[in-house]
């Protein structure tokens, strides 16, 4: 670094101390690397201000120590779902995790989401999710009523609203132990995000597609053993397990495993 640019670096510094309250330093333990095998944690010490979130602190790490630290982020408002990472081991959005919510005086560990391959540093390749999305038959609404409108119960409309809050941050996919530590399960298991998507479609009052056979055979709903980890990490507070996964499981059971229904089908034929 030339002496001139070292001076320039200092001039970027004053912002670190221009808010009220005593400035303090925090140690960030950031995972760096281009693949799981070759990467590891590097420690950076940076000054922080009141009200900062983890993403702000990492910007400061970029500005002061590691200009090439890779982070994927966009909105800084918890709505784009880009900045998911594991902060002190917990899947979280970096832009919504205030430093003040973490233990004071201790290092903050930031690692990339474990379920997906690393692109570089904190950025992962989440295309697994895009491939799974392609396997879900789209919304297929029934014809309009004769007067050209659609009618549905308010309660039915309300029920799917919760699922539409999903921002596709994939933190639920990250925490889900079925695919997190088991690459071999990815083929046959779509993960909580897509159970939410399937629930939104299956419960939609206008939809005509039947996806239950697909859910049972291809999406892997049966592998979920409802530990509710996905619900716990959801930044949109969607009750993934209670409101999406369990009702879907019930529908599958009713359709395929109800002995009375099975007998009725055998006798009456269907």
């Amino acid at each position: 670094m030339s002496s001139e640019s070292a001076g320039a670096e200092r001039s970027a510094g004053p912002k670190a101390h221009d808010t009220e309250g005593p400035a303090r330093d925090v140690t960030m333990r950031v995972w760096r690397g281009e693949s799981r095998d070759s990467g590891g944690f590097t420690e950076y010490r940076v000054p922080v201000d009141e009200g900062m979130v983890v993403l702000d602190v990492l910007f400061r790490v970029q500005a002061m120590h590691a200009p090439d630290l890779a982070i994927r982020w966009n909105c800084k408002a918890g709505k784009c779902g880009s900045c998911g990472a594991e902060i002190n081991g917990h899947p979280k959005l970096m832009c919504m995790t205030r430093l003040s919510s973490l233990p004071a005086g201790e290092p903050v560990t930031v690692a990339p989401m474990a379920t997906f391959p690393v692109v570089r540093d904190l950025v992962t390749d989440v295309s697994f999710n895009y491939e799974k999305a392609k396997t879900i038959p789209p919304f297929a609404p029934r014809p309009r009523d004769p007067d050209g409108t659609y009618r549905m119960w308010q309660a039915e409309a309300d029920r799917v609203q919760e699922f539409h809050k999903c921002i596709e941050c994939f933190l639920c996919q990250d925490v889900c132990h079925v695919i997190r530590d088991h690459e071999e399960n990815k083929e046959a298991f779509s993960g909580p995000r897509f159970f939410v998507r399937l629930a939104a479609l299956e419960m939609h009052p206008l939809d005509t597609n039947d996806r239950l056979e697909l859910i049972r055979r291809k999406q892997g709903l049966g592998s979920c053993n409802i530990t509710k980890c996905c619900t716990e990490v959801c930044p949109e507070s969607i009750k993934i397990t209670d409101n999406a996964i369990i009702p879907l499981k019930e529908r599958v059971v009713t359709e395929f495993y109800d002995p009375l229904a099975w007998a009725k089908r055998r006798i009456l034929g269907r």
Binding site: S11, A63, P67, A70, V119
Partner: protein, 186 residues
């Protein structure tokens, strides 16, 4: 419709790609890596932000705008020496080093246009010209690049087309002069 679209596409086939231009651009983009320990893009970005915030902010005045242009010139000189560490894969420092070029251009355009408009209008407030001036009411300041230089010119606002003027009805008729829509003014 698709047929027409295909026909139209054939009629205006893309021009030949100038390989020299592509290579020159690639070379220019990679230069910051060769410099390595040059000017720090993050520090320059912070300085650019401070310059624009302090001197080309909400309330503007000639002396401050002129000072901003001097500082922007200095930043542009330093940008020619910007250096980047690390590799090409997902390197935000490199991206910022490249983004700084357009950022400096836009900053200069904003500052020079603000200097040119000697009045206050909409979001543009000049401490030294606090009132809206009628001669600026139907003029835009347009910046173009000519021979690598930014050239400012005053151009009349587009007239409201006849059918829209008819829609505006009485409001339009109430004006003796043609109604104009001001871009960027509230």
């Amino acid at each position: 419709m698709l047929k027409q679209a295909r026909k139209a596409m054939k009629a205006c086939a893309a021009g030949a790609i100038d390989r020299n231009e592509v290579e020159a651009t690639a070379r220019r983009m990679l230069e910051p890596f060769e410099r390595g320990a040059g000017e720090d893009p993050y520090a320059m970005h912070a300085e650019l932000q401070e310059t624009m915030q302090d001197l080309v902010g909400i309330i503007r005045t000639e002396s401050e705008l002129r000072e901003a242009l001097v500082r922007l010139d200095r930043l542009r000189e330093r940008h020619a020496r910007v250096g980047v560490r690390g590799g090409r894969r997902y390197n935000p420092g490199w991206h910022l080093a490249l983004d700084l070029g357009p950022m400096l251009t836009v900053s200069e355009v904003v500052a020079r246009s603000a200097l040119e408009r000697r009045e206050s209008r909409g979001g543009h407030t000049r401490e030294d010209f606090p009132k809206a001036a009628p001669e600026w009411a139907d003029v835009n300041v347009v910046t173009r690049r000519r021979d690598g230089q930014l050239v400012l010119s005053r151009e009349p606002l587009a007239q409201v087309p006849g059918e829209l003027r008819a829609l505006l009805g009485e409001a339009a008729e109430a004006h003796a002069e043609p109604v104009t829509i001001e871009k960027g003014a509230s």
